[in-house]
Symmetry: C2
Subunit: 389 residues, 2 copies
């Protein structure tokens, strides 16, 4: 079994007795209300999804992450996991305090405040997203942060309820499940989309070289136009039921928000899957990208700078279905490019695998071609009046 990032699976979930102590003194603690997104981050930290993080980043770590894509202990880490609070809240909190973190009136976790600091939003956006362009959803998100950051370890009292308990697993649980299945090599697949035939092709190609496939969609806030969480989960359930061996494929959710940080998010996604126990991680074209903010293969090339990551990236190009090949294909394997090849008379020879194309067809109410999407998966999507966020 691959080691978690940093060597140990972090567990900041309070045991019953410690939990009771915290609950007894909760009225005395200063309380901070967090967003649902932050509540899910707290759970991810506490259950080791973000190992080696034990809490929200201190200033020193944040600056290292921004400038060198590593924590101050030199471990790879590319995405800021930060807790923002208002200036008013900040005035009432001192380093050394223990604070109470709540979501929707539910006491989720306590936090040992180790650092309280301000930050430059433009600089943070520029470093993490490579831009200050407010067309980038991550930039908007950064500019909307409150003005002060709190760093420090958290202790989970109670996670906020999961909407999908059946597919909600902690790294300790996925690792146990991989072991029970006898999987020694596992490839992780990140997604925020319904599965088309191109996704299936990439997953099955990777699976051919390992023992098991871990399909791990991001459930949580995404950008407008992305598929709804329910649609993603239901389509994958149907795809696995019809086209996968149950003993070779496993579906579990990752509750976090998409950052659309391209290359930096690719490393972050790989680290998370390493914590879940994956030995390999699939990276397609423009992983975690948005619009044209990142070069198409930047999220693959960045892995050269992280030879110490331990999880092995599997790089895939862009795929399409070629009717002449009669199979999924890519620009290296298929010579039947309609526009360049006069011997190839059929302009419809290539069916592009594309989430954007899929969305277009759905919005126009046209028929979904079976070369692009499995009929069973299409049926699920078509049940929704509006499958999009």
């Amino acid at each position: 079994m691959i080691n978690p990032h940093g060597g140990n699976l972090i567990n900041r979930v309070l045991e019953d007795s410690a939990k009771e102590n915290v609950l007894n003194e909760k009225e005395e603690l200063f309380g901070i209300d967090v967003t649902l997104q932050r509540a899910k981050e707290i759970e991810n930290i506490a259950t080791g999804v973000y190992s080696p993080l034990e809490g929200f980043l201190n200033q020193n770590d944040l600056e290292n992450v921004m400038n060198s894509k590593r924590l101050s202990n030199d471990l790879a880490w590319t995405i800021p996991i930060i807790l923002d609070i208002t200036t008013e809240e900040a005035k009432k909190i001192s380093v050394g305090d223990i604070v109470r973190l709540s979501y929707a009136n539910q006491f989720i976790a306590s936090m040992e405040v180790e650092d309280k600091y301000t930050f430059n939003k433009e600089e943070l956006a520029e470093k993490v997203y490579g831009t200050n362009d407010t067309h980038h959803p991550g930039v908007i998100e950064t500019f909307n942060l409150k003005d002060t950051l709190l760093g420090g370890k958290i202790n989970l009292v109670d996670p906020y309820e999961s909407l999908y308990p059946r597919y909600h697993m902690s790294p300790a649980e996925t690792r146990k499940s991989f072991e029970e299945r006898g999987w020694k090599t596992i490839v992780g697949f990140q997604t925020r989309n319904v599965p088309h035939v191109g996704h299936e092709y990439v997953q099955k190609t990777a699976l051919t070289f390992v023992d098991g496939l871990f399909i791990n969609p991001v459930i949580g806030r995404k950008k407008s136009g992305d598929f709804k969480d329910d649609v993603i989960i239901e389509t994958y359930r149907v795809l696995i039921d019809n086209y996968y061996l149950k003993e070779r494929a496993m579906l579990a959710i990752l509750q976090t928000e998409m950052r659309y940080a391209g290359p930096r998010e690719a490393i972050f996604h790989a680290i998370i899957r390493k914590n879940y126990g994956c030995t390999h991680f699939i990276l397609g074209r423009d992983h975690a990208g948005v619009s044209n903010f990142y070069p198409p293969y930047a999220a693959q090339e960045i892995f050269e700078k992280f030879p110490d990551l331990e999880i092995s990236p599997l790089f895939f190009p862009s795929f399409f279905y070629c009717r002449t090949c009669g199979s999924s294909a890519n620009d290296k394997t298929c010579p039947h490019a309609p526009s360049q090849n006069l011997e190839c008379p059929d302009p419809e020879v290539r069916v592009e695998f594309s989430g954007t194309k899929l969305r277009d067809i759905l919005l126009k109410g046209e028929k979904l071609p079976p070369e692009l999407i499995r009929p069973e998966v299409a049926d699920v999507i078509l049940k929704w009046e509006n499958p999009f966020v």
Copy 2:
């Protein structure tokens, strides 16, 4: 560019002046007539296909190869490259002599005799093929060897003509060609068969992860029932013309004989492709096997013992075409097994990719299904009255 095995590309082809000297004294040299197979081995040694070998194995190296699958300098080497002579010839040759090697009355090479020794055929067969069963073509071959072996460096005077000059390339030439094409990573594919859709699938899957594909069929003596060399070359030419990008796939022949030594031959095949400049090498099920002499994945597992090989093996399972998946598939990716799955009513759901099955269909004169073989490739095979050796 990957280094040749042992670090240097062997070149034992005589330059013009040296060649003239040898030709001047050829009448004084004791002459040995060799078989066509041996003539091709001499060329392979001289042009670096068998780097680091500079000649036929001495006794010390042969024993190391038999017992530890390595030369006496500890470099991986698994197949004996030996020159057998009769007892009568042996009487006339002493260590230190230079002898003349000829095929079909053509002076091919001179040889510096470094060692002359006898050997135990039963032991050699047992060590190399794992059996003394005379149903194994390699065992027969070993038992038919003459009784004495000569070891020593060779100097190529003239290679015996190639039947396929267009596809005949030395490692120096393939390396130059890879460089000109800008290929940094190249996957080698060994074959002794006409290409079916399963071969194409495996080749294209591997090509997806590298820059170029080097298709390198073995041309030379094979067992009865294998396809004729002409059929193999012509079918690959047609397949590449119709289904590959010329800038991504290259066809060249390897003139040697199949040994059917399974795992040992897999290592040998990988070393040869490393010498040609390949960085990766494809290994399917039962590579270089015959009947049931080797466990189906023994030729993949043996690579664990050769972590120093430098060329990366790419292991593939057995594939089939699944009509429900609508694609090539394997036992890890496809749940539609007709015999085990009652939900799957079609007993014809899986088309096995199998050379044996292909041969059976051809012998019965039945139609070749397009899921098994490309129509253009089938047309080539059907042109031959008898496509088999």
